[in-house]
């Protein structure tokens, strides 16, 4: 999917993501959900979701992601999938697999679900035992078997970070034993809970390099029966990612409370009032709302982006990352080495380097990992 250029009226929101709930049985330290998810208002009702689907489809939305939190905690997931399928969406379920029983999968198949992406997460608090955790492996194996039984391609997504990246070989071996056809090794992106835990999660360059080498060797051995994608963390790049193909170009996300977002992480961007599907139509949200128009085109750009010959390729990178690192969402994404704030990224990488090489006996100032749960929630804590 490519994005239109300039300030012209954007095309339709081709990619609709419904974050049906922030509820989740897991507590992943790298979750991009907001760190104050407990303060987010009540979830939309089934009929609201169905109206969102109808309106978005009428505008031309065609790919549908169903995510969360864990979308399977919504008992109306099958109803939502059935409606989406009837409307002509291509439906993608993004799940941890927790709660994916055979009756539910059967129901989803009947409802017309097109695709399942099984995320491989840590379901325990014992991060270092993660790979040997039989609970995790048994759950994923059982779900993988079901997914194959209902003739879906086996697509695994594994989030990598400093604490598991050295185990890429075991992770890939596990994926192979599960019969995975596609494996995405996605390095953590630093938003939400992952941002809070960035200092603990950012790998060192050497770790990253080893993981890439292992992946390349594995790829060679298994050939085309298991396709492996390795997504390098952008902190190690010198040009930013064309985030969302530009905000408000193809992606429309709806949060559990009905807030419409041009990126899942955008809720944190200051100075924007995001519209809510409870009170506004999808058409007015997409085409007319100030929040969705804010970062369209190039008028909002500052130097060095404003005059950069590459601005049409990466759109200045990620607004959320620019805001998190520099305090101004209109700045260039500091991943770019043309950004005057690029040192903020390289310094974080250097700190990760130092932590990797520090002799283990030396007292290293470590901060504890913050698990995504209600006790640590910034919105509900007293």
């Amino acid at each position: 999917m490519s994005a239109p250029q300039g300030r012209a009226r954007p095309g339709p929101p081709l990619w609709l993501l419904l974050e049906l709930t922030y509820r989740c049985p897991l507590h992943c330290v790298f979750c991009y959900n907001p760190t104050d998810f407990g303060a987010v208002g009540p979830e939309l009702e089934t009929r609201d979701w169905l109206r969102v689907l109808e309106e978005a489809r009428a505008l031309g939305a065609v790919q549908l992601g169903l995510s969360g939190g864990e979308p399977l905690v919504r008992e109306d997931l099958e109803t939502i999938v059935a409606a989406a399928h009837r409307l002509g969406f291509y439906t993608n379920l993004i799940t941890s697999g927790v709660g994916l029983t055979e009756p539910r999968l059967q129901g989803l198949r009947q409802a017309g679900l097109d695709h399942i992406q099984l995320s491989f997460q840590d379901s325990t608090r014992r991060m270092n035992d993660f790979l040997s955790s039989t609970r995790t492996f048994e759950l994923k194996s059982r779900v993988a078997e079901l997914i194959r039984k209902y003739r879906y391609p086996m697509v695994l997504n594994v989030v990598l970070h400093r604490l598991n990246i050295d185990h890429v070989e075991e992770i890939l071996g596990m994926a192979e034993r599960m019969g995975a056809e596609y494996v995405e090794l996605a390095n953590t992106q630093y938003y939400g809970w992952a941002w809070r835990n960035r200092e603990q999660l950012l790998p060192s360059r050497a770790q990253l390099q080893r993981a890439e080498e292992v992946t390349a060797r594995f790829r060679e051995r298994v050939g085309p029966r298991m396709r492996i994608f390795f997504v390098v963390p952008d902190y190690f790049e010198t040009r930013p990612k064309p985030c969302m193909s530009g905000l408000g170009q193809i992606f429309l996300g709806i949060a559990p409370d009905g807030m419409a977002l041009p990126c899942q992480a955008a809720r944190m961007l200051p100075g924007l009032t995001f519209p809510n599907v409870r009170t506004a139509s999808i058409g007015s949200i997409w085409y007319d709302s100030a929040a969705f128009n804010r970062y369209r085109g190039e008028d909002w750009m500052k130097e060095p982006c404003r005059s950069c010959p590459e601005r049409g390729r990466d759109f200045g990178g990620c607004r959320c990352q620019a805001y998190l690192l520099t305090g101004d969402a209109a700045n260039a994404d500091p991943v770019c080495d043309l950004s005057p704030h690029h040192h903020l990224v390289t310094e974080a990488v250097e700190r990760a380097e130092r932590r990797a090489t520090a002799p283990s006996r030396q007292p290293v100032t470590e901060r504890p990992l913050v698990f995504r749960d209600h006790r640590n929630d910034e919105g509900t804590r007293a």
């Binding site: 999917m1 790919q63 291509y90 993608n92 097109d114 695709h115 391609p153 697509v155």
Partner: protein
């Protein structure tokens, strides 16, 4: 690229879906988290790939519909490309 025999019956690959999108005024091929917008000739071929018609049937139909001849090699090379990208599967 594989050589396509005119006796095989191409069908849209598993996980792919072909449909008309009014908002884009085009046929699109949908697959997990992605989409290919098809030009008219690609759409004309793919909409005929139903797993029942042979490549020869498809060529005949296209030549009749568009009142032209000599489409066999173009259609075969498109189908070969589509098979390589797993958009199409071939049935005997």
């Amino acid at each position: 690229m594989a050589i396509i025999h005119t006796t095989v019956r191409p069908v849209i690959g598993g996980g792919f879906r072909l449909q008309w999108e009014p908002a884009q005024e085009a046929h699109v091929l949908l697959y997990p988290e992605g989409m290919v917008k098809l030009n008219q000739s690609a759409a004309a071929i793919l909409t005929r790939c139903d797993g029942l018609r042979t490549v020869a049937d498809i060529v005949t139909d296209l030549e009749r519909t568009y009142a032209i001849t000599g489409l066999t090699s173009d259609v075969c090379s498109f189908i070969a490309m589509a098979v390589e990208r797993t958009w199409l599967e071939l049935r005997p």
